[in-house]
Symmetry: C2
Subunit: 261 residues, 2 copies
C-alpha cells in the first residue's frame, strides 16, 4: 500500500530539447534526473536549433514512441520544440507535468541567444502553461561534448525545483561553462547580457549561377556588467537567468504615454 501511495505521488518530469532525441545532451539530462520521478521525453525527430518559439500551423504533427533509456517513456515529434511541449501535455501526459526540463543544449543560450533558442522556447512554452521549467545549455557545440558537469548541475537544479512550491511561471535559463566540474566556481543568478550577433552572410553562387546566402555571424557582447550571464560564464560560474514571457517594456511605456498618440 505504502509503495502504491508513493508511486502516485511521484512527480512527472517532462523532458525535451531542440537538438533532437539523437543528441547526447538530452541523454545526459535524462540520466541526471531519471530517478527523481516519472520521466517522459518528447523531443524533435531532427535538429531544430534556432527555431525560436515557432509552432507548426500548416501541416499535421506526428508522435512516434521510441526506445530511449531504460525505464523512460520516450517519443519523437516531427514538429518544433514548442510543438513537442504542447503535444506532450495535451496528447501524451493528458495533464501538466510537475516540471519541464529542456536540453542539455549543445552550445550557449546565454544573453540574446535566449530569443533564438528552441531549447529555451520549449521551456518558455511550459512556463506559459504554468509548469515550472528550465532550459540547460553547455557552452560546447561538439557532439562529443563532456556532459558530466552538466549532469551534476541539472540534478541540483531539478531537485531544487521539485523540492518546494515555486511561482508557477518559474523559468530558468541555465548555461554551463565547458570546463571540468572541479573548475566550476559555483552557480550565479544573473541578468541577460545585452549582446547580439554581427551578421556576416556567406555569399556564394550555386551550380546554376544563382546567388545564395548562408547565415553566419560573430557574437558581440556590449554589456560589461558583472551581474550578467556572459560575465558569470567567462569567470567559470554556471549562469542562471530567470526568464519571463511578459515582454512589456514598462520603462518605455511611461515614456510613450507622453507621445499623445
Amino acid at each position: 500500500m505504502a509503495k502504491t501511495k508513493q508511486k502516485k505521488e511521484e512527480p512527472i518530469i517532462l523532458i525535451t530539447n531542440d537538438d533532437s532525441i539523437h543528441a547526447p545532451g538530452i541523454k545526459a539530462l535524462t540520466e541526471a534526473v531519471k530517478d527523481l520521478g516519472r520521466v517522459v521525453v518528447v523531443a524533435p525527430d531532427k535538429p531544430q536549433s534556432g527555431m525560436g518559439h515557432a509552432i507548426t500551423i500548416g501541416y499535421p504533427l506526428r508522435l512516434q514512441k521510441v526506445n530511449f533509456i531504460e525505464g523512460v517513456e520516450a517519443y519523437t515529434c516531427n514538429g518544433t520544440p514548442v510543438d513537442c511541449v504542447k503535444l506532450a501535455v495535451d496528447k501524451v501526459l493528458h495533464r501538466k507535468p510537475d516540471i519541464c526540463l529542456s536540453g542539455v543544449n549543445h552550445g550557449a543560450n546565454h544573453s540574446i541567444n535566449v530569443i533564438y533558442s528552441g531549447t529555451m522556447s520549449a521551456a518558455m512554452e511550459a512556463s506559459i502553461e504554468s509548469i515550472p521549467s528550465a532550459g540547460f545549455s553547455l557552452l560546447d557545440y561538439s557532439v562529443e561534448a563532456d556532459f558530466s558537469a552538466s549532469k551534476t548541475i541539472v540534478r541540483k537544479i531539478a531537485i531544487m525545483m521539485l523540492s518546494k512550491k515555486h511561482n508557477k511561471h518559474l523559468l530558468l535559463n541555465v548555461n554551463i561553462p565547458a570546463i571540468p566540474e572541479s573548475l566550476i566556481k559555483g552557480i550565479k543568478i544573473c541578468r541577460q547580457a545585452y549582446a547580439k550577433y554581427e551578421e556576416d552572410f556567406i555569399e556564394r553562387k550555386d551550380p546554376t549561377g544563382k546567388m545564395y546566402y548562408w547565415l553566419t555571424g560573430e557574437f558581440v557582447n556590449f554589456d560589461k556588467g558583472k551581474d550578467t550571464d556572459v560575465w558569470a560564464l567567462k569567470n567559470n560560474y554556471v549562469s542562471v537567468v530567470p526568464v519571463q514571457f511578459d515582454l512589456t517594456n514598462y520603462a518605455m511605456k511611461e515614456q510613450l504615454e507622453k507621445w499623445k498618440l
Copy 2:
C-alpha cells in the same frame, strides 16, 4: 542642390511581414508610408505565421527582386521573417534603415501572441539591431480584411517614429480592432495581457491509418486589467505595447538569490 540634399536625408523605411509578400496587409502598410522616405520591402515568399523568432541555419537563403508597388524596391526571401530583416540590413540596404515596420498582420498579435508571431519577431530583430521598429496587426484573419483604418494608424505611428530621436531599441506591438475607422476611440499605450491558448489538437488518422495531430486552440484571457492590450482592443482602442528583448525576470531574480544554489 536643395533637392539633392533633401534626397540624401530621406529616411529609409524597411518593411517586412510574416504573411508573405502576397498578403494584402503588407501592401496596405507600404501604401500608408511610401511617401515618407525610401521604402524597401524584404518579405517572405510564402506564409510564415507562427514562426516566432526562428532563423534559418540549415540551408541557404535566396533573395529575389520582385515587382510590388510602383516606386518601391521589393524582394522576397525564402526564409523566416527574422531572416528577412537580417538579409535586408546586411545584403540589400548595406546599412541600418531609419525604422522597420512589420505587417500589417492578418490576425491579432496582442498578449501572448507576441511570442509566436513572426510579424513581431521581425520587428524585434530590427530592435536588437538598434533600429526603431513596430509590428502592426489587424484583428481580422480574412484575406479580404479592410485595412483602411490600419493605414491611418500605421501612418500616424510611422510619422511619430520618424519625427524625433527615440530609444534605439524602440519596439512597438500595435494591434488594431477590426472595426470601421470612425468607431476607433483612440490609441492606448498598454501592457501585454496575461493570456494563453488552451490547446486542443485535432486527432485524426491519415489514409494509411496512422495518427496525426493538428494544432488548434482557444484563446483564454486570464488578465482583467484595464491597462492591457486585450482590454483596449475589446473597448475599440488601438493597443500599443512597448516590447523588449531583455527577458530577465528581475523580480524572480531577487527570489532566486535566496535559493543558495
